[in-house]
Structures are given as structure tokens and as C-alpha cells.
């Protein structure tokens, strides 16, 4: 699954490493693992993910709104990027 996303996934992992809490290495998560429930990030860190999507891919979620689940895992975020990339 990791190869499917290529550099986009690597970039997301690099970003998550910057905002993650200390206790759990992001590399230990599967793409379907929940980022908040696993303890990787704080629940409000979703805002940082939104800003990352805006800055990196030009995806403006304030226009279309977002279901929190779409930002809930690495795989879901990558799916969202795929769908929404301008």
C-alpha cells in the first residue's frame, strides 16, 4: 500500500513527524490506523493537517467542509489529497 502513494506519502509522514506526540513512532502505524485514537497526534492537531493540505496541495477545505474521518488516518488523508488536488 505504501508504494501506491509514493513521495506524497513520504512527505505526509515527514510532516506528521513534525507535529506528532513523542510516545509513538509514526512509522509504526498502518495507513488505516487512526491518528488521534492511536495517540500519535492531539485531536486539535487536525487543524495543522488542514493547513498542511492547503499549503502543500492548495486544497481549501473551508470551502467544501470536511468530515473529520477524512483526516483520521494516513490512508484517508492520502485519498483526500487524491480526490481534491486542484
Amino acid at each position: 500500500m505504501n508504494e501506491k502513494w509514493g513521495p506524497r506519502r513520504q512527505d505526509l509522514i515527514r510532516f506528521l513527524r513534525e507535529i506528532q506526540k513523542a510516545g509513538l513512532p509514526v512509522e509504526s502505524l498502518d495507513d488505516s490506523d487512526e491518528l488521534v485514537a492511536s495517540g500519535l497526534i492531539d485531536s486539535l492537531a487536525i487543524l495543522q493537517i488542514v493547513i498542511y493540505l492547503e499549503d502543500t496541495y492548495g486544497i481549501d477545505l473551508s470551502v467544501r467542509g470536511v468530515d473529520p474521518e477524512q483526516l483520521g488516518s494516513i490512508g484517508n488523508i492520502l485519498d483526500l489529497i487524491e480526490q481534491e488536488r486542484p
Binding site: 506526540k21 513523542a22 485531536s43 486539535l44 487543524l47 473551508s62 470536511v66 473529520p68
Partner: protein, 506 residues
């Protein structure tokens, strides 16, 4: 008046649970009977390590009616911290809910506290109304969870003074349907956002605090319940403004923001989003019963740091922050001149629990030294410019570096430590830490992390670590946290996830 159960309805908009006044009366009466059976006597203190649900509010009223003092506890505290608070406050009872961790219940029991479940009430009912104005009503711990706890004690008189002042300045009409998304173990969320409207007969809509999934559907929530008032803190607005669609029905009449003053830019964004110009900063401090100043007519142009005038409080800005001298001498700053903010209010706390020394350090001749820096403008309105205190304001949660330092200092391989505030795009501030270790091996770092995790509530855990050779000190040997922070930020922080990951995989 406010304590005669002239309460409004209680609603959990997410679960759909709703208690009307009759049901609230029944729930309180059952809890009075149950608390009597457990021997609660006037003056007894009761821990409530849960909140933000209907049961919390009826427990509070029942305890008050029996003359007890309520101590709401953050449900994220570790067993170590709860044990420390229990040692300091010596509660007779703790009322918990089904989400209270077993280790918290265990530590309370072994501390000699009688633990009961909030939902186990039985069907017996009893009446009581032992409320005396001078009795202790509420204790809120503001710091010292790992060391010497600092509990702010409010009497029924000081709380009533706060609520009456708010009613005089703001009325109750705008609070008809009040939404609280803030924690009920904070003065802001409990005393003002929840209890003021509810005990004034208005309806209170209560949710779990700081839930992004709720914030992201805030507009829908406001529309569905016809919310007329809400208070919040900047991190929630950052999320809502970005991701939640605005409410459509135009029901919001008034909106407060606390914890840290809004920038003029965000202020205007919130006005646009909420559909009301009646948005303002509510300046609140636990010791003064929270909201102590703000704007009555909040439709004025937004200004960075603008608070407004005292709500049941006299606000002065003085040249001095010295609490060892009488304030007889005239030391007021001129309009526009920055100085230290002092408050005089009948809603001032009784004092810090069993810490008269700390009370004397904060209160002089009835004036409370806030630790905030600001000025009064030419219209007499308070404008905040900063803080003098060490505390870290993480999205409204005040974190005291000394609480974290105390835990690290007790780790045998740590020789020195200094925690400090770091700027954070979401919370405003978060926690950074410089630590000196006897050895800098990964094993020691992992051990320190586990030690801290066992002793500190999760929000207090530093997010960036710097392991350094020595903590810089002033010529007097004191730590200047800003200087330590500046020194650390010149070098990259520790790759803590990487080190811990190695520990996990080995």
C-alpha cells in the same frame, strides 16, 4: 435566589439527553438522599473527577445543598497527581463516573476517600438547603498537582457576587440557550459559561470539551439547538473558522472568548462567522470568579487586546506589582501607560486552601494582583498587552512549569531542568523542556519519558525536548525561562519519537 433550584433545563445536544427542571429536582433529591447515607456533612469536601455531563451539575447542587464544597478535578490527571491533590484537600467523598479510570478510583480509595458512582443514586429522595453564604462552595486547583497544590476557594458569597455582577451588566436574555464546550473543571467553563446562565434559569447545552469533531460541526450544532450564547477559547475558533460551516439561523446573540485576548483580525472573523457583532473578550481569572471584565456593548470596532470595563470589579493599572507593600501610595499609570493589572471585586476568592502565605502574596488590601500587563485607554477600558507570569497557556489550560520541573527533578538521572512556553499554531502556547541528564543515553531518555508519563497529565507533557549540558542562570542563580528558551531554540530539539521508537522496536 440563585441557589433555590430556579435552574434552567440541562441538555446534552450530542447524546440527546435532556433533563427539565422537574427531572433536575428529582435527580438532585436522590443525590441528597444518597450523600446523606454516605455521611456527607457541612464543610466536607467532595472530589468530582468527571464533568461536562448532566450528572455533574446535579451532583454539584446536591453537595451544595448539604453544605459541602465541590472540587472538580481534570479527568486527565494521573493517579500520582490525584493522590497528591487528595492528600492536600482531604476530601471525604469522591463521585466518579463510568469513565473514571480504575487506578484513579484505587488511589482515592487507598487515600481514605469514599468513592461513589454518580449514576448509582437509588430512588430515595431527600431535601436539604444548608447553604450558608460564607461556606466554602468550590475549590479549583490551578497549580501544584505534582507538588504543593494551590486550590482557589470560593464561597457561596463570592460566587453569588460574580453571578449577580454578570446579571447586572449583561442581563440574562442573551443567555437563554447557552452552549458550553469548555471543561467544567475550569473557572471559565464552570462558573461563568455554565453556572451563571443555568442558575439564572436559562437552558444549558453541555458537550464534552475540545472535541474537534464537535467544533467542525459547530454551525450545525448552533442551528439545531437555537444557541443564543457561547463562550470559547482561541484554539476552538481557529478550528471552527477553518472547518465549520457558519450557522444559518442567526440565533447567536452574544459570543465570548476567554483565555487569551483575540487579535482584531480573528475577532472580526468570528463576528462574520457567528453572524453577530456582539463578540468580545471576557477577561477572567479563577481567583476573581472568572469573567471580571469585558464589553457590555460588544459591537465596537475590534482592537488587539481590547478587554473593556470591569464587570462587578474595579480595574486599576499600577506601576507596581509589589504585594508586600500597602497600596495606599498613588501609583496609578496614566491612560495609555502600561503597568500591572490589579482587580478589586466582591467576587474575589476566599483565599488559597490552607496557603495563607500564597494568598498574602496575591492580595493586598483586598486588591488582587493579576500578573497581567496592560493599560487603560482614554475611555477607561482595559487593554491587555502581556503576562508577567511563568504559566504556559495551552489553549486555555494553564500549565505551571514548576509542576513539570518537580516531576523531572525527582527522576534520579536528571540533574537540572527548566520547562518553558513555546509558541504553537493551534494552542497559542505549548510546553518545551531543557533538561540536564547524568548521561544522555537513549535508555535514560526513554526512562525519563516513562517517568514523566506516569506522573504528569498528558497535556503537561513537553512536546519538544532539549538535552543540554547546563541550564543557564542569572548572576543570582535564578532561572530565566525566556533565556533558556532562547538558548534552546538555537539548536534542534531532541528526536524524541525516534529515540522512543528505537526503544519500542528493540
Amino acid at each position: 435566589m440563585l441557589l433555590e433550584l430556579s435552574v434552567g433545563n440541562l441538555i446534552e445536544p450530542v447524546s440527546g439527553r435532556r433533563w427539565d427542571r422537574a427531572e433536575i429536582g428529582c435527580q438532585v433529591a436522590r443525590r441528597i438522599a444518597r450523600l446523606q447515607k454516605h455521611g456527607l456533612a457541612p464543610g466536607d469536601r467532595v472530589f468530582l473527577p468527571f464533568g461536562n455531563r448532566l450528572e455533574f451539575f446535579v451532583e454539584l447542587l446536591a453537595i451544595w445543598r448539604l453544605g459541602g464544597c465541590v472540587i472538580p478535578i481534570d479527568n486527565r490527571l494521573t493517579a500520582f497527581e490525584v493522590e497528591n491533590l487528595a492528600r492536600a484537600a482531604t476530601p471525604r467523598l469522591a463521585v466518579v463516573d463510568e469513565a473514571t479510570p480504575a487506578e484513579i478510583i484505587q488511589v482515592l480509595s487507598t487515600s481514605g476517600v469514599n468513592v461513589i458512582q454518580t449514576t448509582e443514586t437509588g430512588t430515595d429522595e431527600a431535601a436539604a438547603s444548608l447553604v450558608g453564604l460564607e461556606s466554602d462552595a468550590l475549590m479549583l486547583f490551578t497549580s501544584g498537582s505534582t507538588g504543593d497544590p494551590k486550590g482557589v476557594v470560593h464561597t457561596h458569597r463570592s460566587l453569588r457576587a460574580r453571578w449577580m455582577s454578570l446579571r447586572d451588566h449583561l442581563g440574562v436574555v442573551a443567555f437563554e440557550k447557552t452552549l458550553c464546550m469548555l471543561p467544567t473543571h475550569f473557572g471559565h467553563g464552570l462558573i461563568c459559561n455554565s453556572l451563571f446562565p443555568w442558575l439564572s434559569g436559562q437552558d444549558l447545552y453541555i458537550t464534552q470539551p475540545f472535541r474537534p469533531e464537535l467544533v467542525m460541526r459547530l454551525g450545525t450544532l448552533v442551528d439545531e439547538s437555537g444557541i443564543t450564547f457561547m463562550s470559547s477559547v482561541p484554539p476552538i475558533w481557529r478550528l471552527a473558522l477553518k472547518l465549520a460551516r457558519p450557522p444559518q439561523r442567526g440565533t447567536l446573540q452574544r459570543v465570548h472568548c476567554g483565555s487569551a485576548p483575540l487579535s482584531a483580525h480573528m475577532w472580526e472573523d468570528i463576528r462574520r462567522w457567528t453572524g453577530t457583532r456582539n463578540v468580545c473578550n471576557a477577561y477572567g481569572i479563577t481567583e476573581t470568579g472568572s469573567w471580571v471584565a469585558g464589553l457590555v456593548d460588544a459591537g465596537v470596532p475590534a482592537e488587539d487586546g481590547l478587554i473593556g470595563q470591569g464587570w462587578g470589579a474595579v480595574v486599576r493599572v499600577l506601576h507596581t506589582n509589589d504585594t508586600t507593600q500597602s497600596l495606599d501610595r498613588e501609583t496609578r499609570c496614566a491612560p495609555g501607560e502600561s503597568g500591572f493589572v490589579w482587580l478589586n471585586t466582591p467576587a474575589l476568592m476566599k483565599g488559597y486552601f490552607r496557603r495563607d502565605d500564597l494568598t498574602r502574596q496575591a492580595v493586598v488590601d483586598g486588591w488582587f494582583m493579576t500578573g497581567d500587563i496592560g493599560f487603560l485607554d482614554d475611555r477607561g477600558r482595559l487593554v491587555l498587552r502581556g503576562r508577567e507570569r511563568d504559566e504556559i497557556n495551552k489553549g486555555g489550560m494553564k500549565i505551571y512549569p514548576s509542576d513539570i520541573d518537580a516531576v523531572v527533578e525527582s527522576f534520579e538521572r536528571a540533574t537540572d531542568v527548566c520547562t518553558f512556553a513555546l509558541d504553537d499554531p493551534i494552542y497559542g502556547q505549548t510546553v518545551g523542556m531543557a533538561v540536564v541528564l547524568a548521561d544522555q543515553s537513549d535508555e535514560t531518555i526513554c526512562a525519563l519519558y516513562q517517568w514523566m508519563k506516569a506522573h504528569l497529565a498528558e497535556p503537561k507533557m513537553p512536546v519538544r525536548w532539549w538535552v543540554i549540558d547546563a541550564i543557564p542562570r542569572t548572576s543570582r542563580g535564578k532561572i530565566n525561562r525566556d533565556a533558556v528558551k532562547a538558548a534552546c531554540q538555537n539548536q534542534p530539539p531532541l528526536d524524541l519519537p525516534g529515540i522512543l521508537g528505537k526503544g519500542t522496536s528493540s
